[in-house]
Assembly symmetry: C2
Protein backbone atom coordinates (compact mmCIF):
# COMPACT_ATOMS: atom_id res chain seq x y z
CA UNK A 1 0.00 0.00 0.00
CA UNK A 2 1.13 3.55 -0.65
CA UNK A 3 3.03 5.00 2.34
CA UNK A 4 1.18 8.32 2.34
CA UNK A 5 -2.23 6.69 2.07
CA UNK A 6 -1.36 4.33 4.91
CA UNK A 7 0.07 7.09 7.12
CA UNK A 8 -2.92 9.40 6.84
CA UNK A 9 -5.66 6.83 6.18
CA UNK A 10 -6.63 8.30 2.82
CA UNK A 11 -7.52 6.80 -0.57
CA UNK A 12 -5.19 8.76 -2.88
CA UNK A 13 -1.75 10.19 -1.99
CA UNK A 14 -2.87 13.71 -2.92
CA UNK A 15 -2.55 16.48 -0.35
CA UNK A 16 -4.16 19.88 -0.83
CA UNK A 17 -1.68 22.52 0.29
CA UNK A 18 -2.80 24.46 3.38
CA UNK A 19 -2.65 27.88 1.74
CA UNK A 20 -3.37 31.16 3.48
CA UNK A 21 -6.68 32.86 2.58
CA UNK A 22 -7.65 29.99 0.26
CA UNK A 23 -7.94 26.86 2.39
CA UNK A 24 -11.07 27.06 4.51
CA UNK A 25 -13.47 24.29 5.49
CA UNK A 26 -15.25 24.10 2.12
CA UNK A 27 -12.07 23.36 0.19
CA UNK A 28 -10.63 21.11 2.89
CA UNK A 29 -13.73 18.98 3.33
CA UNK A 30 -14.24 18.71 -0.44
CA UNK A 31 -10.69 17.40 -0.92
CA UNK A 32 -10.98 14.95 1.97
CA UNK A 33 -14.37 13.77 0.75
CA UNK A 34 -12.84 13.17 -2.70
CA UNK A 35 -10.29 10.80 -1.17
CA UNK A 36 -7.31 13.13 -0.70
CA UNK A 37 -6.11 15.00 2.35
CA UNK A 38 -7.46 18.51 2.85
CA UNK A 39 -5.43 20.92 4.97
CA UNK A 40 -6.78 24.03 6.68
CA UNK A 41 -4.38 26.94 6.17
CA UNK A 42 -3.95 28.26 9.73
CA UNK A 43 -1.39 30.86 8.62
CA UNK A 44 -4.09 33.42 7.86
CA UNK A 45 -6.42 32.60 10.78
CA UNK A 46 -6.86 34.05 14.24
CA UNK A 47 -7.17 31.28 16.84
CA UNK A 48 -10.95 31.61 17.07
CA UNK A 49 -11.29 31.47 13.30
CA UNK A 50 -9.19 28.32 13.18
CA UNK A 51 -11.36 26.68 15.85
CA UNK A 52 -14.47 27.51 13.87
CA UNK A 53 -12.95 26.24 10.62
CA UNK A 54 -11.94 22.95 12.25
CA UNK A 55 -15.46 22.47 13.61
CA UNK A 56 -17.06 23.26 10.26
CA UNK A 57 -14.69 20.85 8.50
CA UNK A 58 -15.57 18.10 10.98
CA UNK A 59 -19.26 18.59 10.31
CA UNK A 60 -18.69 18.49 6.54
CA UNK A 61 -16.54 15.34 6.34
CA UNK A 62 -15.89 12.19 8.33
CA UNK A 63 -12.65 11.64 6.41
CA UNK A 64 -9.17 12.56 7.71
CA UNK A 65 -8.07 16.17 7.32
CA UNK A 66 -5.29 18.29 8.77
CA UNK A 67 -4.04 21.78 9.55
CA UNK A 68 -1.01 23.55 8.07
CA UNK A 69 0.79 25.64 10.69
CA UNK A 70 3.67 28.00 9.84
CA UNK A 71 5.85 27.66 12.95
CA UNK A 72 6.64 31.37 13.01
CA UNK A 73 2.96 32.11 13.71
CA UNK A 74 2.75 34.59 16.62
CA UNK A 75 0.01 32.73 18.57
CA UNK A 76 1.59 29.35 18.00
CA UNK A 77 0.94 27.94 21.52
CA UNK A 78 -2.72 28.82 21.34
CA UNK A 79 -3.00 27.40 17.80
CA UNK A 80 -1.41 24.09 18.80
CA UNK A 81 -3.67 23.78 21.84
CA UNK A 82 -6.76 24.34 19.72
CA UNK A 83 -5.60 21.65 17.30
CA UNK A 84 -5.22 19.21 20.20
CA UNK A 85 -8.49 20.23 21.87
CA UNK A 86 -10.44 19.85 18.65
CA UNK A 87 -9.00 16.40 18.02
CA UNK A 88 -7.32 17.14 14.68
CA UNK A 89 -5.25 14.10 13.70
CA UNK A 90 -2.75 15.57 11.24
CA UNK A 91 -0.54 18.68 11.26
CA UNK A 92 1.73 19.95 8.50
CA UNK A 93 4.36 22.34 9.85
CA UNK A 94 6.47 24.76 7.84
CA UNK A 95 8.68 27.84 8.15
CA UNK A 96 10.47 26.91 11.36
CA UNK A 97 12.31 24.22 13.29
CA UNK A 98 10.49 20.85 13.30
CA UNK A 99 12.06 20.02 16.66
CA UNK A 100 9.97 22.62 18.48
CA UNK A 101 6.53 20.98 18.15
CA UNK A 102 6.84 17.45 16.76
CA UNK A 103 7.20 15.84 20.20
CA UNK A 104 4.21 17.72 21.63
CA UNK A 105 2.04 16.79 18.65
CA UNK A 106 3.07 13.12 18.82
CA UNK A 107 2.30 12.99 22.53
CA UNK A 108 -1.19 14.07 21.60
CA UNK A 109 -1.53 11.36 18.98
CA UNK A 110 -1.15 13.72 16.03
CA UNK A 111 0.71 12.76 12.82
CA UNK A 112 3.26 15.35 11.70
CA UNK A 113 4.59 16.26 8.26
CA UNK A 114 7.15 19.03 7.79
CA UNK A 115 7.79 21.15 4.69
CA UNK A 116 11.40 21.59 3.49
CA UNK A 117 13.12 23.09 0.46
CA UNK A 118 16.43 21.21 0.64
CA UNK A 119 17.86 17.86 1.70
CA UNK A 120 19.69 19.29 4.75
CA UNK A 121 16.38 20.32 6.30
CA UNK A 122 14.92 16.95 5.29
CA UNK A 123 17.61 15.25 7.40
CA UNK A 124 16.81 17.60 10.30
CA UNK A 125 13.09 16.92 9.95
CA UNK A 126 13.71 13.17 10.06
CA UNK A 127 15.91 13.64 13.14
CA UNK A 128 13.08 15.62 14.74
CA UNK A 129 10.91 12.54 14.31
CA UNK A 130 8.35 13.76 11.79
CA UNK A 131 6.17 11.15 10.09
CA UNK A 132 6.48 12.55 6.57
CA UNK A 133 8.40 15.17 4.63
CA UNK A 134 7.06 17.60 2.05
CA UNK A 135 9.77 18.76 -0.38
CA UNK A 136 8.69 21.93 -2.14
CA UNK A 137 10.39 23.11 -5.32
CA UNK A 138 11.12 26.58 -6.72
CA UNK A 139 8.04 26.52 -8.95
CA UNK A 140 5.67 26.43 -5.96
CA UNK A 141 3.57 29.46 -5.04
CA UNK A 142 3.99 31.45 -1.86
CA UNK A 143 7.02 31.26 0.42
CA UNK A 144 9.89 29.37 -1.02
CA UNK A 145 13.46 28.19 -0.37
CA UNK A 146 16.59 30.23 -0.97
CA UNK A 147 18.34 27.43 -2.90
CA UNK A 148 15.77 27.74 -5.72
CA UNK A 149 16.01 23.97 -6.34
CA UNK A 150 13.26 22.87 -8.68
CA UNK A 151 11.05 19.86 -8.06
CA UNK A 152 12.93 17.89 -10.78
CA UNK A 153 16.18 18.18 -8.80
CA UNK A 154 14.87 18.52 -5.24
CA UNK A 155 12.86 15.28 -5.08
CA UNK A 156 15.78 12.99 -6.05
CA UNK A 157 18.07 15.00 -3.73
CA UNK A 158 15.75 14.53 -0.75
CA UNK A 159 15.03 10.90 -1.61
CA UNK A 160 18.79 10.28 -1.51
CA UNK A 161 19.01 11.27 2.18
CA UNK A 162 15.81 9.86 3.66
CA UNK A 163 13.45 6.89 3.41
CA UNK A 164 10.62 8.75 5.14
CA UNK A 165 7.29 9.05 3.34
CA UNK A 166 7.97 11.87 0.87
CA UNK A 167 5.46 14.30 -0.62
CA UNK A 168 6.49 16.34 -3.68
CA UNK A 169 5.23 19.91 -4.04
CA UNK A 170 5.80 22.59 -6.67
CA UNK A 171 4.61 22.58 -10.26
CA UNK A 172 2.18 19.70 -9.79
CA UNK A 173 -1.38 20.22 -11.01
CA UNK A 174 -2.15 17.12 -13.09
CA UNK A 175 -2.12 13.35 -13.01
CA UNK A 176 0.82 13.37 -15.39
CA UNK A 177 2.88 15.58 -13.06
CA UNK A 178 1.83 13.42 -10.10
CA UNK A 179 3.17 10.32 -11.82
CA UNK A 180 6.39 12.13 -12.80
CA UNK A 181 6.89 13.18 -9.16
CA UNK A 182 6.50 9.58 -8.05
CA UNK A 183 8.98 8.44 -10.70
CA UNK A 184 11.42 11.01 -9.27
CA UNK A 185 11.10 9.38 -5.84
CA UNK A 186 8.06 10.87 -4.10
CA UNK A 187 5.35 8.74 -2.50
CA UNK A 188 2.67 11.37 -2.94
CA UNK A 189 2.07 14.95 -3.99
CA UNK A 190 0.90 18.23 -2.53
CA UNK A 191 -1.12 20.35 -4.92
CA UNK A 192 -1.74 24.04 -4.32
CA UNK A 193 -2.52 26.31 -7.29
CA UNK A 194 -4.92 23.86 -8.93
CA UNK A 195 -7.08 23.84 -5.77
CA UNK A 196 -7.01 27.64 -5.40
CA UNK A 197 -8.79 27.77 -8.75
CA UNK A 198 -11.61 25.55 -7.49
CA UNK A 199 -15.19 26.50 -6.71
CA UNK A 200 -14.69 25.61 -3.05
CA UNK A 201 -11.54 27.61 -2.31
CA UNK A 202 -12.02 30.79 -0.29
CA UNK A 203 -9.84 32.78 -2.71
CA UNK A 204 -11.62 35.86 -4.08
CA UNK A 205 -13.26 35.33 -7.48
CA UNK A 206 -10.97 38.03 -8.96
CA UNK A 207 -7.92 36.06 -7.82
CA UNK A 208 -9.32 32.86 -9.32
CA UNK A 209 -9.90 34.64 -12.63
CA UNK A 210 -6.33 36.00 -12.55
CA UNK A 211 -4.99 32.47 -12.05
CA UNK A 212 -6.81 31.00 -15.01
CA UNK A 213 -5.59 33.93 -17.18
CA UNK A 214 -1.96 33.50 -16.13
CA UNK A 215 0.60 32.40 -18.72
CA UNK A 216 4.20 31.17 -18.48
CA UNK A 217 6.39 33.86 -16.94
CA UNK A 218 3.44 35.52 -15.17
CA UNK A 219 4.71 34.55 -11.72
CA UNK A 220 8.04 35.52 -10.21
CA UNK A 221 9.98 34.79 -7.05
CA UNK A 222 10.45 38.17 -5.36
CA UNK A 223 11.44 39.67 -1.98
CA UNK A 224 14.54 37.48 -1.76
CA UNK A 225 16.10 40.03 0.61
CA UNK A 226 13.21 39.42 3.04
CA UNK A 227 11.58 35.99 2.65
CA UNK A 228 11.38 34.74 -0.96
CA UNK A 229 7.78 34.49 -2.19
CA UNK A 230 6.34 33.52 -5.57
CA UNK A 231 3.68 35.99 -6.68
CA UNK A 232 1.57 36.64 -9.71
CA UNK A 233 3.20 39.57 -11.50
CA UNK A 234 0.54 42.25 -10.94
CA UNK A 235 1.17 46.00 -10.48
CA UNK A 236 2.35 45.47 -6.91
CA UNK A 237 4.76 42.64 -7.81
CA UNK A 238 6.17 44.72 -10.68
CA UNK A 239 6.77 47.62 -8.27
CA UNK A 240 8.71 45.20 -6.09
CA UNK A 241 10.70 43.92 -9.08
CA UNK A 242 11.59 47.49 -10.00
CA UNK A 243 12.62 48.32 -6.44
CA UNK A 244 14.78 45.19 -6.35
CA UNK A 245 16.42 46.05 -9.67
CA UNK A 246 17.27 49.45 -8.21
CA UNK A 247 18.96 47.77 -5.25
CA UNK A 248 16.50 48.82 -2.55
CA UNK A 249 17.40 47.54 0.91
CA UNK A 250 15.40 44.97 2.86
CA UNK A 251 14.05 47.78 5.07
CA UNK A 252 12.86 49.73 2.04
CA UNK A 253 11.29 46.59 0.56
CA UNK A 254 9.55 45.82 3.87
CA UNK A 255 8.09 49.32 3.83
CA UNK A 256 6.90 48.94 0.24
CA UNK A 257 5.32 45.61 1.18
CA UNK A 258 3.54 47.04 4.20
CA UNK A 259 0.98 44.89 5.97
CA UNK A 260 -2.03 42.90 4.92
CA UNK A 261 -1.15 42.68 1.21
CA UNK A 262 -1.90 38.94 0.99
CA UNK A 263 -5.38 39.36 2.46
CA UNK A 264 -5.96 42.42 0.24
CA UNK A 265 -5.18 40.45 -2.91
CA UNK A 266 -6.16 36.85 -2.31
CA UNK A 267 -9.20 37.35 -0.06
CA UNK A 268 -10.45 40.89 -0.77
CA UNK A 269 -9.76 40.60 -4.50
CA UNK A 270 -7.63 43.70 -5.09
CA UNK A 271 -5.84 42.24 -8.08
CA UNK A 272 -3.50 45.13 -8.80
CA UNK A 273 -2.26 46.08 -5.31
CA UNK A 274 -2.54 42.83 -3.35
CA UNK A 275 -0.02 40.01 -2.92
CA UNK A 276 -1.19 37.08 -5.05
CA UNK A 277 0.67 33.93 -3.97
CA UNK A 278 0.48 31.30 -6.71
CA UNK A 279 2.72 28.73 -8.37
CA UNK A 280 4.11 28.42 -11.90
CA UNK A 281 1.49 25.70 -12.51
CA UNK A 282 -1.01 28.57 -12.90
CA UNK A 283 0.18 28.70 -16.53
CA UNK A 284 -1.34 25.23 -17.02
CA UNK A 285 -4.67 25.95 -15.30
CA UNK A 286 -7.47 27.44 -17.39
CA UNK A 287 -10.71 26.76 -15.60
CA UNK A 288 -12.37 27.02 -12.21
CA UNK A 289 -13.93 23.68 -11.34
CA UNK A 290 -15.54 21.87 -8.42
CA UNK A 291 -12.96 19.95 -6.35
CA UNK A 292 -14.66 16.67 -7.23
CA UNK A 293 -14.11 17.30 -10.95
CA UNK A 294 -10.51 18.42 -10.44
CA UNK A 295 -9.79 15.37 -8.34
CA UNK A 296 -11.38 12.95 -10.77
CA UNK A 297 -9.43 14.56 -13.63
CA UNK A 298 -6.12 14.12 -11.83
CA UNK A 299 -6.74 10.49 -10.94
CA UNK A 300 -8.11 9.60 -14.39
CA UNK A 301 -5.14 11.20 -16.14
CA UNK A 302 -2.77 9.45 -13.74
CA UNK A 303 -4.33 6.06 -14.49
CA UNK A 304 -4.48 6.73 -18.22
CA UNK A 305 -0.81 7.75 -18.47
CA UNK A 306 0.25 4.87 -16.24
CA UNK A 307 -1.66 2.36 -18.37
CA UNK A 308 -0.58 3.72 -21.76
CA UNK A 309 2.95 3.80 -20.48
CA UNK A 310 2.98 0.10 -19.65
CA UNK A 311 2.65 -0.72 -23.34
CA UNK A 312 4.27 2.29 -25.00
CA UNK A 313 7.80 1.68 -26.30
CA UNK A 314 9.54 4.88 -25.17
CA UNK A 315 12.58 3.68 -27.10
CA UNK B 1 9.47 3.66 -32.55
CA UNK B 2 10.53 6.66 -30.53
CA UNK B 3 10.19 9.91 -32.52
CA UNK B 4 13.61 11.26 -31.54
CA UNK B 5 15.38 7.99 -32.32
CA UNK B 6 13.65 7.82 -35.68
CA UNK B 7 14.37 11.45 -36.54
CA UNK B 8 18.09 11.31 -35.80
CA UNK B 9 18.74 7.61 -36.46
CA UNK B 10 19.96 6.89 -32.94
CA UNK B 11 19.38 4.06 -30.47
CA UNK B 12 18.36 6.01 -27.35
CA UNK B 13 16.53 9.38 -27.22
CA UNK B 14 19.36 10.95 -25.21
CA UNK B 15 21.01 14.09 -26.55
CA UNK B 16 24.23 15.47 -25.08
CA UNK B 17 23.90 19.24 -24.84
CA UNK B 18 26.31 21.12 -27.12
CA UNK B 19 27.94 23.13 -24.35
CA UNK B 20 30.62 25.76 -24.86
CA UNK B 21 34.15 24.74 -23.81
CA UNK B 22 33.01 21.24 -22.81
CA UNK B 23 31.70 19.56 -25.95
CA UNK B 24 34.61 18.66 -28.21
CA UNK B 25 35.06 15.60 -30.42
CA UNK B 26 35.97 13.20 -27.60
CA UNK B 27 32.73 13.80 -25.69
CA UNK B 28 30.59 13.98 -28.82
CA UNK B 29 31.92 10.79 -30.38
CA UNK B 30 31.73 8.93 -27.05
CA UNK B 31 28.04 9.85 -26.66
CA UNK B 32 27.21 8.94 -30.26
CA UNK B 33 29.13 5.67 -29.97
CA UNK B 34 27.11 4.88 -26.82
CA UNK B 35 23.87 5.17 -28.80
CA UNK B 36 22.87 8.75 -28.02
CA UNK B 37 23.35 11.94 -30.01
CA UNK B 38 26.54 13.90 -29.36
CA UNK B 39 26.55 17.62 -30.19
CA UNK B 40 29.65 19.71 -30.81
CA UNK B 41 29.36 23.05 -28.99
CA UNK B 42 30.19 25.55 -31.75
CA UNK B 43 29.49 28.53 -29.47
CA UNK B 44 33.06 28.55 -28.16
CA UNK B 45 34.82 27.65 -31.43
CA UNK B 46 36.43 29.73 -34.16
CA UNK B 47 35.40 28.45 -37.61
CA UNK B 48 38.69 26.60 -38.13
CA UNK B 49 38.40 24.93 -34.75
CA UNK B 50 34.88 23.81 -35.54
CA UNK B 51 36.00 22.31 -38.86
CA UNK B 52 38.76 20.42 -37.10
CA UNK B 53 36.39 19.19 -34.40
CA UNK B 54 33.88 17.96 -36.95
CA UNK B 55 36.60 16.06 -38.80
CA UNK B 56 37.93 14.49 -35.62
CA UNK B 57 34.42 13.46 -34.58
CA UNK B 58 33.83 11.84 -37.97
CA UNK B 59 37.00 9.83 -37.63
CA UNK B 60 36.02 8.73 -34.11
CA UNK B 61 32.46 7.59 -34.82
CA UNK B 62 30.35 6.40 -37.72
CA UNK B 63 27.18 7.16 -35.78
CA UNK B 64 25.07 10.32 -36.22
CA UNK B 65 26.22 13.45 -34.40
CA UNK B 66 25.39 17.14 -34.63
CA UNK B 67 26.50 20.69 -33.94
CA UNK B 68 24.88 23.20 -31.57
CA UNK B 69 24.96 26.72 -33.02
CA UNK B 70 23.90 29.80 -31.03
CA UNK B 71 22.32 31.94 -33.78
CA UNK B 72 23.84 35.14 -32.38
CA UNK B 73 27.31 33.79 -33.19
CA UNK B 74 29.27 36.53 -35.01
CA UNK B 75 30.64 34.30 -37.82
CA UNK B 76 27.34 32.54 -38.33
CA UNK B 77 27.49 32.41 -42.17
CA UNK B 78 30.94 30.86 -42.13
CA UNK B 79 29.91 28.38 -39.39
CA UNK B 80 26.84 27.24 -41.32
CA UNK B 81 28.84 26.82 -44.53
CA UNK B 82 31.42 24.67 -42.74
CA UNK B 83 28.61 22.50 -41.34
CA UNK B 84 27.26 21.98 -44.86
CA UNK B 85 30.68 21.44 -46.42
CA UNK B 86 31.66 18.88 -43.81
CA UNK B 87 28.41 16.96 -44.32
CA UNK B 88 27.08 17.26 -40.77
CA UNK B 89 23.53 15.87 -40.72
CA UNK B 90 22.06 17.50 -37.61
CA UNK B 91 22.08 21.07 -36.23
CA UNK B 92 20.63 22.31 -32.95
CA UNK B 93 20.07 26.07 -33.01
CA UNK B 94 19.51 28.32 -30.02
CA UNK B 95 19.56 31.98 -28.94
CA UNK B 96 17.97 33.49 -32.02
CA UNK B 97 15.17 33.28 -34.56
CA UNK B 98 14.69 29.75 -35.99
CA UNK B 99 13.33 31.30 -39.22
CA UNK B 100 16.75 32.62 -40.20
CA UNK B 101 18.54 29.33 -40.90
CA UNK B 102 16.07 26.43 -40.86
CA UNK B 103 15.27 26.70 -44.58
CA UNK B 104 18.95 26.86 -45.58
CA UNK B 105 19.79 23.85 -43.43
CA UNK B 106 16.86 21.82 -44.78
CA UNK B 107 17.87 22.63 -48.35
CA UNK B 108 21.20 21.06 -47.54
CA UNK B 109 19.58 17.94 -46.12
CA UNK B 110 20.27 18.80 -42.50
CA UNK B 111 17.84 18.03 -39.67
CA UNK B 112 17.14 21.00 -37.37
CA UNK B 113 16.18 21.18 -33.71
CA UNK B 114 15.67 24.52 -31.98
CA UNK B 115 15.98 25.31 -28.27
CA UNK B 116 13.17 27.29 -26.56
CA UNK B 117 12.28 28.26 -23.00
CA UNK B 118 8.56 28.88 -23.45
CA UNK B 119 5.59 27.65 -25.48
CA UNK B 120 5.31 30.86 -27.55
CA UNK B 121 8.76 30.26 -29.02
CA UNK B 122 7.87 26.59 -29.48
CA UNK B 123 4.98 27.67 -31.71
CA UNK B 124 7.34 29.97 -33.64
CA UNK B 125 9.89 27.19 -34.02
CA UNK B 126 7.24 24.86 -35.41
CA UNK B 127 6.10 27.58 -37.81
CA UNK B 128 9.73 27.98 -38.93
CA UNK B 129 9.66 24.31 -39.91
CA UNK B 130 12.12 22.82 -37.43
CA UNK B 131 12.16 19.02 -37.08
CA UNK B 132 12.29 18.95 -33.28
CA UNK B 133 12.02 21.28 -30.30
CA UNK B 134 14.20 21.34 -27.20
CA UNK B 135 12.39 22.89 -24.21
CA UNK B 136 14.88 23.94 -21.57
CA UNK B 137 13.80 24.62 -18.00
CA UNK B 138 15.04 27.09 -15.36
CA UNK B 139 17.23 24.44 -13.70
CA UNK B 140 19.46 24.10 -16.78
CA UNK B 141 23.02 25.41 -16.78
CA UNK B 142 24.21 28.28 -18.95
CA UNK B 143 21.92 30.70 -20.75
CA UNK B 144 18.34 30.48 -19.76
CA UNK B 145 14.85 31.91 -20.36
CA UNK B 146 13.42 34.99 -18.68
CA UNK B 147 10.17 33.25 -17.70
CA UNK B 148 12.07 30.97 -15.30
CA UNK B 149 9.64 28.14 -16.06
CA UNK B 150 10.93 24.89 -14.63
CA UNK B 151 11.05 21.63 -16.56
CA UNK B 152 8.07 20.29 -14.54
CA UNK B 153 5.85 23.09 -15.86
CA UNK B 154 7.53 23.88 -19.19
CA UNK B 155 7.29 20.41 -20.75
CA UNK B 156 3.50 20.08 -20.33
CA UNK B 157 3.10 23.72 -21.47
CA UNK B 158 5.07 23.10 -24.68
CA UNK B 159 3.45 19.71 -25.28
CA UNK B 160 0.07 21.48 -25.16
CA UNK B 161 0.91 23.67 -28.17
CA UNK B 162 2.85 21.33 -30.44
CA UNK B 163 3.02 17.71 -31.58
CA UNK B 164 6.60 18.08 -32.83
CA UNK B 165 9.24 15.70 -31.46
CA UNK B 166 10.02 17.25 -28.08
CA UNK B 167 13.26 17.04 -26.13
CA UNK B 168 13.23 18.02 -22.43
CA UNK B 169 16.27 19.77 -20.95
CA UNK B 170 17.04 21.11 -17.49
CA UNK B 171 17.58 19.11 -14.31
CA UNK B 172 17.91 15.77 -16.09
CA UNK B 173 20.93 13.64 -15.22
CA UNK B 174 19.52 10.19 -14.50
CA UNK B 175 17.31 7.47 -15.94
CA UNK B 176 14.67 8.31 -13.38
CA UNK B 177 14.56 11.97 -14.48
CA UNK B 178 14.53 10.86 -18.13
CA UNK B 179 11.44 8.73 -17.51
CA UNK B 180 9.78 11.57 -15.55
CA UNK B 181 10.41 13.95 -18.47
CA UNK B 182 8.77 11.49 -20.87
CA UNK B 183 5.79 11.13 -18.52
CA UNK B 184 5.49 14.95 -18.61
CA UNK B 185 5.22 14.81 -22.40
CA UNK B 186 8.75 14.77 -23.84
CA UNK B 187 9.90 12.23 -26.41
CA UNK B 188 13.54 12.43 -25.39
CA UNK B 189 15.95 14.33 -23.18
CA UNK B 190 18.97 16.59 -23.48
CA UNK B 191 21.55 16.10 -20.75
CA UNK B 192 24.26 18.66 -20.03
CA UNK B 193 25.82 18.79 -16.56
CA UNK B 194 26.15 15.01 -16.22
CA UNK B 195 28.26 14.91 -19.41
CA UNK B 196 30.45 17.85 -18.37
CA UNK B 197 31.56 15.70 -15.43
CA UNK B 198 32.71 12.90 -17.75
CA UNK B 199 36.24 11.80 -18.56
CA UNK B 200 35.77 12.76 -22.20
CA UNK B 201 34.47 16.33 -21.79
CA UNK B 202 36.94 19.10 -22.55
CA UNK B 203 36.02 20.95 -19.33
CA UNK B 204 39.08 21.67 -17.15
CA UNK B 205 39.67 19.10 -14.40
CA UNK B 206 39.21 21.87 -11.79
CA UNK B 207 35.75 22.60 -13.19
CA UNK B 208 34.85 18.90 -13.15
CA UNK B 209 35.95 18.68 -9.51
CA UNK B 210 33.87 21.76 -8.65
CA UNK B 211 30.81 20.15 -10.24
CA UNK B 212 31.05 16.95 -8.25
CA UNK B 213 31.51 18.99 -5.04
CA UNK B 214 28.46 21.17 -5.74
CA UNK B 215 25.44 20.88 -3.44
CA UNK B 216 21.85 22.17 -3.67
CA UNK B 217 21.85 25.96 -3.84
CA UNK B 218 25.39 26.10 -5.23
CA UNK B 219 24.22 27.38 -8.61
CA UNK B 220 22.28 30.57 -9.26
CA UNK B 221 20.67 32.30 -12.21
CA UNK B 222 22.46 35.66 -12.49
CA UNK B 223 22.91 38.54 -14.95
CA UNK B 224 19.17 38.81 -15.58
CA UNK B 225 19.68 42.43 -16.65
CA UNK B 226 21.95 41.19 -19.46
CA UNK B 227 21.24 37.60 -20.54
CA UNK B 228 20.24 35.27 -17.69
CA UNK B 229 22.85 32.57 -17.08
CA UNK B 230 23.05 29.80 -14.47
CA UNK B 231 26.49 29.68 -12.88
CA UNK B 232 28.20 27.81 -10.10
CA UNK B 233 28.37 30.27 -7.18
CA UNK B 234 32.12 30.89 -7.05
CA UNK B 235 33.83 34.15 -6.04
CA UNK B 236 33.02 35.73 -9.38
CA UNK B 237 29.33 34.74 -9.29
CA UNK B 238 29.04 36.03 -5.73
CA UNK B 239 30.51 39.38 -6.84
CA UNK B 240 27.81 39.52 -9.49
CA UNK B 241 25.11 38.64 -6.94
CA UNK B 242 26.34 41.44 -4.68
CA UNK B 243 26.43 43.94 -7.56
CA UNK B 244 22.89 42.93 -8.51
CA UNK B 245 21.65 43.29 -4.94
CA UNK B 246 23.11 46.80 -4.96
CA UNK B 247 21.13 47.62 -8.10
CA UNK B 248 24.06 47.97 -10.51
CA UNK B 249 23.01 48.79 -14.06
CA UNK B 250 23.37 46.47 -17.03
CA UNK B 251 26.35 48.54 -18.22
CA UNK B 252 28.07 48.17 -14.85
CA UNK B 253 27.34 44.44 -14.82
CA UNK B 254 28.69 44.06 -18.35
CA UNK B 255 31.90 45.76 -17.24
CA UNK B 256 32.21 43.50 -14.20
CA UNK B 257 31.67 40.48 -16.45
CA UNK B 258 34.31 41.60 -18.94
CA UNK B 259 35.36 39.20 -21.68
CA UNK B 260 36.52 35.62 -21.77
CA UNK B 261 35.20 34.62 -18.34
CA UNK B 262 33.63 31.37 -19.56
CA UNK B 263 36.87 30.21 -21.17
CA UNK B 264 38.83 31.30 -18.09
CA UNK B 265 36.68 29.17 -15.81
CA UNK B 266 35.46 26.20 -17.77
CA UNK B 267 38.47 25.62 -20.04
CA UNK B 268 41.43 27.22 -18.26
CA UNK B 269 40.27 26.07 -14.82
CA UNK B 270 40.26 29.34 -12.90
CA UNK B 271 37.61 28.22 -10.47
CA UNK B 272 37.31 31.42 -8.46
CA UNK B 273 37.28 34.09 -11.19
CA UNK B 274 35.87 32.27 -14.22
CA UNK B 275 32.27 31.83 -15.35
CA UNK B 276 31.24 28.23 -14.58
CA UNK B 277 28.06 27.40 -16.48
CA UNK B 278 26.36 24.38 -14.94
CA UNK B 279 22.87 23.20 -14.06
CA UNK B 280 21.14 22.49 -10.74
CA UNK B 281 21.61 18.78 -11.47
CA UNK B 282 25.23 19.29 -10.38
CA UNK B 283 23.91 18.75 -6.83
CA UNK B 284 23.07 15.17 -7.82
CA UNK B 285 26.39 14.38 -9.55
CA UNK B 286 29.24 13.09 -7.41
CA UNK B 287 31.68 11.37 -9.71
CA UNK B 288 33.59 11.84 -12.95
CA UNK B 289 33.01 8.81 -15.15
CA UNK B 290 33.62 7.61 -18.70
CA UNK B 291 30.69 8.43 -21.00
CA UNK B 292 30.06 4.74 -21.58
CA UNK B 293 29.52 4.18 -17.85
CA UNK B 294 27.32 7.27 -17.47
CA UNK B 295 25.24 6.21 -20.44
CA UNK B 296 24.82 2.62 -19.28
CA UNK B 297 23.84 3.91 -15.81
CA UNK B 298 21.13 6.15 -17.23
CA UNK B 299 19.64 3.46 -19.44
CA UNK B 300 19.81 0.78 -16.75
CA UNK B 301 18.13 3.03 -14.19
CA UNK B 302 15.50 4.00 -16.76
CA UNK B 303 14.71 0.34 -17.48
CA UNK B 304 14.76 -0.61 -13.82
CA UNK B 305 12.35 2.16 -12.77
CA UNK B 306 10.11 1.48 -15.75
CA UNK B 307 9.93 -2.22 -14.92
CA UNK B 308 9.44 -1.82 -11.18
CA UNK B 309 6.76 0.69 -11.93
CA UNK B 310 4.72 -1.69 -14.02
CA UNK B 311 4.06 -3.80 -10.95
CA UNK B 312 4.25 -1.26 -8.14
CA UNK B 313 0.89 -0.14 -6.75
CA UNK B 314 1.48 3.59 -6.36
CA UNK B 315 -1.89 3.78 -4.65
Amino acid sequence: MNKICELFGIQYPVIQGGMIWCSGWQLVSAVSNAGGLGLIGAGSMYPDVLREQIRKTKSATDKPFGVNVPLLYPNIDEIMQIIVDEGVGIVFTSAGNPKSWTHFLHENGIKVAHVVSNSKFAVKAEAAGVDAIVAEGFEAGGHNGREESTTMVLIPAVRKVTNKPLIAAGGISSGRAMLAAQILGADGVQIGSRFVASEESSAHENFKQAIISAQEGDTNLVLKKLVPVRLLRNDFAKQIELAEAEGKTSAELAQLLGRGRAKLGMFAGNISEGELEIGQASALIDNILPVKTIFRGIIEEYDMVKDSFKNEPFF
